[in-house]
């Protein structure tokens, strides 16, 4: 049995936001007697990750992915529950903990904006106490893998988003963290660059046996990367399991989109369609077993102008998991 490197038990996190009434009076009032509104960002979530596991955290915007990672890396305090990473409480921010993790965020930067990435690498070498020889080897290898040979001596602000992301990754990996948190690392990048970064992450996981948590609000992003998927929605974990389970789930059903020339008569339709009738566009979620008969019937109808068969959209899957959870 491999050991758990990350454990989260009944974790909840609330944000306080000051509610301001409009106008000068409201501003003054909120200054003297601020009214707080509580946002429940995480509600009672639990999971654990083993050594070397690569996990995809998926959920729509605002689901609580970033909040989870911030708590795991000790940047925010939990309101309830218990968190351990590498056996330590992250919020205590022990140096021995901090020097074994890394956190990369798609939109935030740890590189100094005005200076070349190289300066940050030099700084990290000292901060993480990496011996010069080892540092050189690792840096050379990372630079080579990510193809940024010519970039690390340019001021960071002159790099493109994708180039900067690669340089951020290098900064985050120089000390070879055992646990790596990546928050939407491919956001805003083109498809080629996304693939490069995904491949690189996979390779790092394979070679260094690091535990990696990767978030995305885009399901397909993680399809080829993570064996295990955790789906989070409105601050709750609605699914935690292997990819195949999700694939089964959404290969069982298909979404059929139909465009109509004119309205279908109720009398002409099979029973199960009747309550779903709409005009001029219909969306049907159909079991695969019913698909054939539906299609042959549709092809005989002159009212049908066009039709398309699609996988279930991720939002629909998440919605279903979420409903299951609540029932």
């Amino acid at each position: 049995m491999k050991k758990d490197w990350v454990t989260v038990k009944n974790l909840s996190k609330y944000y306080r936001v000051i509610r301001k009434e409009p106008g000068l009076k409201g501003t003054l009032k909120s200054f003297w007697k601020p009214r707080y509104e509580v946002i429940k960002a995480l509600r009672n979530i639990s999971f654990s990750l083993k050594a070397g596991e690569l996990v995809g955290f998926i959920g729509p915007n605002g689901a609580g992915k970033t909040t989870t990672l911030k708590i795991l890396s000790g940047l925010l305090y939990p309101d309830q529950g218990e968190v351990r990473v590498l056996g330590k409480i992250p919020q205590q921010r022990h140096f021995s903990f901090l020097s074994q993790i890394s956190f990369v965020m798609g939109q935030k930067k740890q590189l100094w904006w005005n200076l070349p990435p190289w300066e940050t690498y030099q700084l990290n070498k000292i901060v993480y106490q990496i011996p010069e020889k080892v540092f050189k080897q690792r840096l050379e290898k990372l630079i080579h893998l990510l193809e940024v040979e010519d970039l690390i001596h340019l001021p960071t602000k002159r790099l493109s988003l994708g180039q900067r992301m690669k340089c951020e990754l290098i900064a985050a990996l120089l000390h070879q963290p055992k646990v790596l948190f990546l928050d939407e690392p491919t956001i805003g990048l083109d498809v080629v660059m996304q693939k490069k970064i995904r491949d690189f992450i996979k390779e790092y996981n394979r070679e260094k046996k690091a535990t990696i948590v990767l978030t995305s609000h885009y399901m397909r992003d993680l399809e080829e990367l993570a064996q295990r998927i955790i789906i989070i929605h409105q601050g709750q974990i609605v699914f935690d399991g292997p990819w195949e389970k999700i694939r089964n789930y959404y290969s069982q059903q298909k979404l059929v989109k139909i465009r109509l020339r004119r309205q279908l008569e109720k009398a002409d339709c099979p029973q199960f369609i009747v309550p779903l009738l709409q005009y001029p566009e219909m969306k049907l979620f159909i079991n695969r077993s019913q698909l054939n008969s539906l299609l042959s019937w549709l092809s005989s109808r002159p009212e049908v102008e066009d039709l398309a068969i699609k996988d279930l959209p991720i939002e629909e899957i998440i919605r279903r998991f979420y409903n299951q959870l609540r029932n």
Binding site: Y14, Y15, R16, V17, T67, K70, S73, G74, L75, L76, Y77, R93, F95, S96, F97, L98, S99, S102, F103, M105, K108, K109, Q110, W112, N114, L115, E119, Q122, L123, N124, I126, V127, Y128, Q129
Partner: protein
Amino acid sequence: MKRTALSLLKQIKNNLILGQRLYLIALQDSFIFRLNFLFLRLRNIFFLLSITFLWLSLYQDGSDLFGYSKEKMLTYIIFVALLKGIVLGTKTNDLAPTIKNGELTFRYLIRPWNIAWVWFCQDWAAKSIDLFFLLPEVFFIAFIVGFSIWLPHSLLTWLIFIILVFLAVIFNFLFRFIISLSGFWWEEVWAPNWLFGIVLLEIFSGVFFPLDILPSLWQKVIYWTPFPYLLFFPVKFLLGQVSSPYSVILILLIWIFLAAIVMQNLWRRGLKTYSAFGG
């Protein structure tokens, strides 16, 4: 015993190397905003010139004023101008925006290092840049007044002076850091920064005039604040007008001690608040 001593030494060495690297980074990072610099320098030269000519005109009939000879007064102006760069120069003004825009978490909290030490080292970059411009400016003023400057000869005096300045540097850092921590709670940080960082600090530390030309009640009140011990007393000591420099050292040490406690406390609370509002 020997092991712990060795690892302590290694830790100190590492922090010094880190300090050097941070200093260089902050230096390069600061040199980007050139236009802003120029404006600040012009303002400073203008200030130095007007204050020098003001005192020159007051000393026209040749007699001493407020117990200062003309020479000593000019020395005061020049040394305070230089010390202002060394003691009051700081980069902590950047801390509050760093808190606000979330850089604090991703650049500072995520690394295994002492954050106060990091900012202290960056302070020296601001001081160096200040000094780099101040030296020729002050030399220019000294040239105008014909180098009529009063300098002590005793080595011990200079030694004590350096200790005083060093303690003042530390207190200034802690004080400015504390002010910037208000960024955890307030939206508009420029207000406390302006009030404490510029008005109180500069007037009460004696940037504009020697504090002992004020009525004695005022003096008494001001001496109960930490500010006069930053510039006024060290320079006055250099001029041979402070009989017990050790009490100044003691007072500075007490203020440093108090400030360090307040800073620790606010920092811890700040992080908690930060967390509640989401960093």
